[in-house]
Amino acid sequence: MSVETSVHPFDDEPIDEPVDESSQGLTTGAAGLTPGDGTSVTSLASGGAGWGHASAVLRWTFALSAAVVLYGAFLATKGADPVTALEAMWESAFGSTNNLGETLVRAAPILLASLAVVVPARAGLFNIGGEGQLLMGAIGAHGMAMALDGALPRPAALVLAGLGGAALGAAWAAIPVLLKLFTATSEAITSLLLNYIAALVLTWLVFEPWKDPASLGQAYSRELDTTTRLPVIWGERVHLGIVVALIAAVFVWLALRSTSWGFRLQVLGGNEEAARRAGFPVARLTIGAMLVGGALAGLGGFVELAGVEGRLRPEILGGYGYVAFLGSWLARHDPLKAVVASVMLGAIVVGGFGLKIATGLSGGAVDVLMALVLLAILGFAQPRGAR
């Protein structure tokens, strides 16, 4: 079920030491290597001896430090003082209550979109369409809010707007998974290409049918009324959406861990043939995993719209879907670790603002840090079988 098997699962024999494990994962979907392996590998790596745990912590610390040091060197090539730059990033992400709040605000949609990678991954699916599903979620929530037009009390309006976002996110995720089942097209590729289409649909809506007549140079949509805005619960900006994201993470964790649905997904992700022989409804499970993922990302779009932006604009949520994909891999597709990963990535995003002010470097600078962290973790921090 993993994408490699549908795109080009060339080798199914171990070749030699370094390629051995990855090639098994490519083809046989051996439990240790498909995206759905999170928990099993974690338990292997850290379970049993305390030594294994200690060495994992060491590996992580070393890999992360190496990434930061490399990044510092990279900033130095652009003429920035690495220490000042990194301090500015830290300050901007965690330096005050408000800054910490900003980090949490950024982490909320990232977490929801990470969960949108986690659930399909459990079933052996690659959802790289989080970006498009986030945008569709924002569009669905906005459409619902405009349709309600303040007619309902706030709790009901918020629930309906959230459902609107989740529904459109799920619908967008349905395209790649249905194409996979009916036409054997790789869901990784189609979900990725759908991101570009979603972005153009959003741009079209904002510039044409949904354009606020009051917007002149910069196009944006009409503003949500107060019944569909998420309340601020802490500080100036931290809104209820953070709680929504955390609850979603716990729900996903429980569902994957303790329900028969979660168990079936795990079996399916580990070995599709085994799932088939056990009589599991493989097609329904596959579709379900992707739809749940799309709905979670759609909820992420709603949270950003209703909690932060208040209106649609073409740049809303730009890049968060990709960041979230990295977050899920950082967390090895574990819903609770995804919380930590999302806060960390949210901090890097917010750190980027501080970096920009302190050094004048463009926003792209933080993409480099994210990439280095991921390279360090994927290639060096995790035990071999888990990469």
Binding site: P18, S22, A188, F207, V368, L378, R384
Partner: protein, 299 residues
């Protein structure tokens, strides 16, 4: 002439697609998928642009583009082949790396005019009505890309090197039995693939748009990976794949210019929709045509 404009536009715009499709074909033939192709293209686009400006030589620029793409692909190869990391996730990280690095280093070059590749009409042939404009009035990298497609096809299917490449992707154990290292072959294939992606990016910035802007490839590298499946891992069919996507772009531009009723934003989505639809229609058949081990695994 709508058809003439669209076809000429398809060829002109398709060059920056053809190189990465060829490159990714080589990499995937060896058994490695590289979603970092998008990042390699960006790296190539910026390197070619900057070196073109700094040295005044577009050819040195193209070379630098290829080198930058190769360098980024080497990181992918190292991670995947020597560190055993997941190919899909690593590819996206490589794209992030390319996106971030080029955004940073390209910041000061945005909007600077480049000493660009000029069109070199083929004497005589370019005068032929219709065909002349479609095929024989392009920049040198475009002619070179068609040569590259034929050469790649020849190497992959008609030489010993190509046999080893395909064996690395299909039956690595056979290579091992002959004392050859599949890993080494894959390293070479991924790096060569990245250099072609970089060259494609270079063509984009120094011959096609003649400008650098952040994230200017807007998914072309990802589309290239999709088109490799469309082309069934065949370098000659890659030509059709590349021109299909660029033809869709040319068609929607032409429709925009002619004042179509449909919003330009929705027209811009058409090329991506085209690729998805074509893949959906062809995927199953393509997978059947693909190497034996592929069909075997898919059952």
């Amino acid at each position: 002439m709508l058809i003439e404009s669209v076809l000429a536009g398809a060829v002109r715009g398709g060059t920056s697609m053809l190189y990465p499709v060829l490159g990714e074909t080589i990499a995937e033939r060896s058994g490695v998928i590289n979603l970092g192709t998008e990042g390699c293209m960006l790296a190539g686009a910026l390197a070619a642009y900057v070196v073109g400006i700094e040295t005044g030589s577009v050819w040195l620029g193209a070379l630098a583009g290829a080198a930058a793409g190769a360098a980024l692909a080497l990181v992918h190869a190292f991670m995947v082949l020597s560190r055993g990391s997941n190919q899909i996730a690593t590819g996206l990280v490589i794209t992030f790396l390319g996106l971030g690095t080029t955004a940073l280093f390209g910041q000061s070059y945005v909007g600077q005019g480049v000493n660009a590749f000029a069109a070199v009409p083929v004497p005589g042939l370019s005068e032929v009505p219709f065909i002349g404009r479609v095929l024989f009035d392009h920049d040198p990298l475009t002619y070179l890309s068609l040569v590259a497609a034929v050469v790649t096809w020849f190497v992959v299917f008609r030489t010993r090197t190509g046999m080893k490449l395909r064996a690395a992707g299909e039956r690595p154990e056979v290579l091992e039995a002959f004392g050859l290292s599949p890993v080494r072959i894959r390293y070479v294939a991924v790096v060569v693939g990245g250099s072609l992606a970089g060259l494609g990016g270079g063509q984009l910035s120094t011959a096609f748009t003649r400008n650098w802007s952040e994230n200017m490839t807007v998914g072309r590298g990802f589309v290239a990976v999709a088109l490799v499946i469309f082309a069934a891992w065949n370098p000659l069919k890659a030509i059709g794949g590349a021109y299909l996507f660029s033809g869709a772009i040319a068609l929607q531009l032409e429709l925009q210019a002619r004042g179509s009723e449909i919003s330009k934003y929705l027209l811009q989505a058409m090329p991506y929709v085209t690729v998805i639809v074509v893949l959906a229609v062809m995927s199953r058949r393509q997978l059947q045509r693909s190497p034996e081990s592929l069909a075997r695994v898919l059952g």
